[in-house]
């Protein structure tokens, strides 16, 4: 999947199986990714587990789990909130039945969006920096904090999905690289939803070419919407790949604008 880290680094990763996105003193988020097409290392998320850790008088521990085709609007214990009846310092809201839920953890100033688009899940999290950085040294494997390990990256080492596109599919070919989409068709479809040719647009093209699944257009589009809803800095919403409207700032770094 495509990962945007707390540092606004953008990466495309393999990370097949279960991986921790966040593991600090307040929150634990783990995802499970599975291959999307045979013969490709690309994976997508089909399970998300979120643990809101017990926090003094505000809430006892609450676990949320979503898998493909089972996106509940409740924690695993059946409750829809944490904390006292009136306080509700932790709350789940169902925005679209079975498709989109929001979790608002007021006591830690944290908001989580979970969506299902097509067969796969997406995740967006906003968390205070001081809480996100509150973890033990042993908890260093957190994709949101440190990004994917280099061995798990399927971009070119500088986050350049464009390089993958250039190498894996002939740019001028009229024949689809994967059943369903030529590069031109993928570009056109993604451009309809995302007129700004940023990294979300490129990810959309990448996903269409690697899977032929049009649902990934909606996933990239809603991922950008989630950024606009949750990312604290408007000037950083869009990330541009090198050669378009920005330049990479070293390994895994992207220009933001």
């Amino acid at each position: 999947p495509h990962l945007r880290t707390f540092k606004d680094h953008f990466q495309t990763c393999k990370v097949e199986g279960a991986w921790p996105l966040i593991d600090n003193n307040y929150l634990s988020v783990q995802v499970t990714n599975v291959p999307v097409v045979p013969g490709s290392s690309a994976t997508a998320t089909n399970k998300i587990t979120i643990i809101f850790k017990a926090h003094r008088e505000c809430t006892d521990q609450k676990v949320y789990q979503a898998v493909t085709d089972d996106l509940p609007a409740a924690f695993v214990d059946g409750s829809t909130s944490g904390g006292d009846g009136d306080t509700k310092s932790l709350l789940i809201l169902e925005r679209e039945s079975g498709r989109y839920v929001e979790m608002h953890a007021r006591y830690i100033g944290t908001t989580v969006f979970v969506r299902q688009l097509g067969r796969y899940l997406t995740l967006a999290i906003r968390m205070p920096e001081d809480l996100a950085m509150s973890y033990e040294e042993s908890q260093d494997l957190q994709l949101c904090v440190n990004g994917c390990p280099l061995s798990e990256r399927i971009d070119d080492g500088q986050g350049q999905v464009s390089a993958i596109l250039g190498h894996s599919v002939p740019r001028t070919s009229l024949a689809p690289a994967w059943p369903g989409y030529t590069l031109e068709a993928a570009n056109a479809q993604c451009h309809e939803k995302m007129p700004v040719k940023d990294i979300y647009f490129q990810s959309c093209v990448f996903d269409l070419l690697t899977t032929g699944d049009a649902n990934f257009t909606a996933a990239a589009h809603s991922a950008l919407e989630d950024v606009e809803a949750l990312h604290p800095r408007k000037e950083r919403w869009h990330i541009f790949p090198s050669g378009s409207q920005g330049t990479p700032h070293g390994r895994g770094h992207w220009a933001v604008s």
């Binding site: 999947p1 495509h2 990962l3 945007r4 880290t5 707390f6 606004d8 996105l21 966040i22 995802v31 999307v36 994976t43 997508a44 998320t45 926090h55 003094r56 008088e57 505000c58 809430t59 306080t87 310092s89 007021r106 006591y107 830690i108 100033g109 944290t110 796969y120 997406t122 995740l123 967006a124 999290i125 906003r126 968390m127 205070p128 920096e129 001081d130 809480l131 996100a132 950085m133 509150s134 973890y135 033990e136 994709l143 949101c144 990810s203 990448f206 690697t210 899977t211 990934f216 996933a219 990239a220 809603s222 991922a223 989630d226 950024v227 949750l230 990312h231 604290p232 800095r233 408007k234």
Partner: protein
Amino acid sequence: CRIQKCSTDFVALTSHLNSAIDGFDSEFCKALRAYAGCTQRTSKACRGNLVYHSAVLGISDLMSQRNCSKDGPTSSTNPEVTHDPCNYHSHAGAREHRGGDLNPPGYLFCGLFGD
């Protein structure tokens, strides 16, 4: 590790207090509890930091001297915000919302999507 921020907030909360006026003890205890809560939130990141450990010991001493209970209301750095221990914004966000910034810095975003 942000212990300095905790200390700065405590100074801000107590600098205007006058021991000669009614309610001083109560307000001072509120500020101390807020200070204690702030240090508690930074405890992991500040482990081994001498300033942090000095602050924790100092708070404990002051709470004993002033007969402050550990539980009770706490001060907010923003007097307009009523403190709610289960509302992060009421004790941490208040300072960040000053100036009318609707998207205050101090928050981080992480996202995962696609394939």
